[in-house]
């Protein structure tokens, strides 16, 4: 499986700390114009444990290249799978998951 993300999820007390780095150029409209390329950036990120959405964000071109993000949530246990999905402007979508430690 292509490694498009680096995911870490750790249970501390009853809170899961998630840390993610997604591999994406995050080319803004200005940057794309300067480089003669097509703008493309992640437009949405969702994280789920089973069917429950635990993180859900609509994003912009202003997230950094290879965006790094962190979030916290409750209601999952050690060994549960945290699945993260991103979609970009061109419609590419990637899902990768990691067991909560």
């Amino acid at each position: 499986m292509a490694k498009n993300m680096k995911i870490k999820a750790k249970l501390k007390g009853d809170i899961i700390n998630a840390k993610v780095v997604a591999k994406h150029d995050m080319l803004t409209y200005d940057q794309a114009k300067a480089k003669g390329k097509e703008a493309n950036f992640i437009t949405h990120i969702t994280a789920k444990v089973g069917d429950a959405v635990v993180y859900d964000v609509s994003t912009s071109q202003f997230w950094s290249k290879n965006p790094q993000f962190k979030f916290k949530f409750k209601g999952a246990a050690k060994g549960d799978e945290l699945a993260i999905t991103w979609t970009d402007l061109l419609g590419n979508t990637t899902t990768e998951s990691k067991k909560i430690k």
């Binding site: 200005d30 969702t46 859900d56 912009s60 071109q61 202003f62 993000f69 962190k70 949530f73 409750k74």
Partner: protein, 157 residues
């Protein structure tokens, strides 16, 4: 045209979701509030996203460096104890204002970190402002602001 088509598909996909999981489903604010993402001013973006609101300035903690040496990856943290439904982040340095809009799950924790790109602030008189707005589950709106300097822009290169 391509983008419009794609967004249209997204709306259809949302409609097609069974109603039973609506409480825990995802919201694509780029599809539901397209004008919020093209607004060039923070006020306009807030209005496009939330309508005419009068938020109270309390309850939001924005973590940002006061001086960012490079705008390519500025660390931003937002924390709040407010029982939030939506958390939105804007800034007045880049061509468009909207930066991120979080749909907070029920009983969700508002403690988000992300790295963002910001243009250098010297053209704007030396300061930029990041603004966060929270829509609470109580129906009220809250606002928080933080001023910073960005020495070298992160959107150009």
């Amino acid at each position: 045209m391509e983008r419009r088509k794609f967004l249209g598909l997204g709306v259809m996909a949302l409609v097609a979701l069974p109603a039973t999981i609506s409480a825990i489903s995802s919201i694509d604010f780029r599809a539901t509030k397209p004008d919020a993402w093209t607004a060039h001013k923070v006020d306009e973006a807030i209005k496009a996203l939330f309508g005419d609101i009068t938020p109270v300035e309390q309850g939001i903690e924005l973590g940002l460096p006061s001086v960012a040496s490079s705008g390519a990856a500025v660390p931003l943290t937002i924390k709040s104890e407010i029982d939030a439904k939506t958390v939105a982040i804007f800034q007045d340095m880049n061509p468009e204002s909207a930066t991120a809009v979080f749909n907070v799950p029920e009983n969700g924790i508002v403690d988000y970190f992300m790295k963002i790109k910001l243009k250098a602030t010297d053209e704007n008189g030396g300061k930029g402002v990041v603004t966060a707005v929270i829509e609470g589950r109580d129906g009220k709106f809250y606002i928080g602001k933080k001023t910073l300097d960005v020495a070298k822009g992160g959107c150009e290169g």
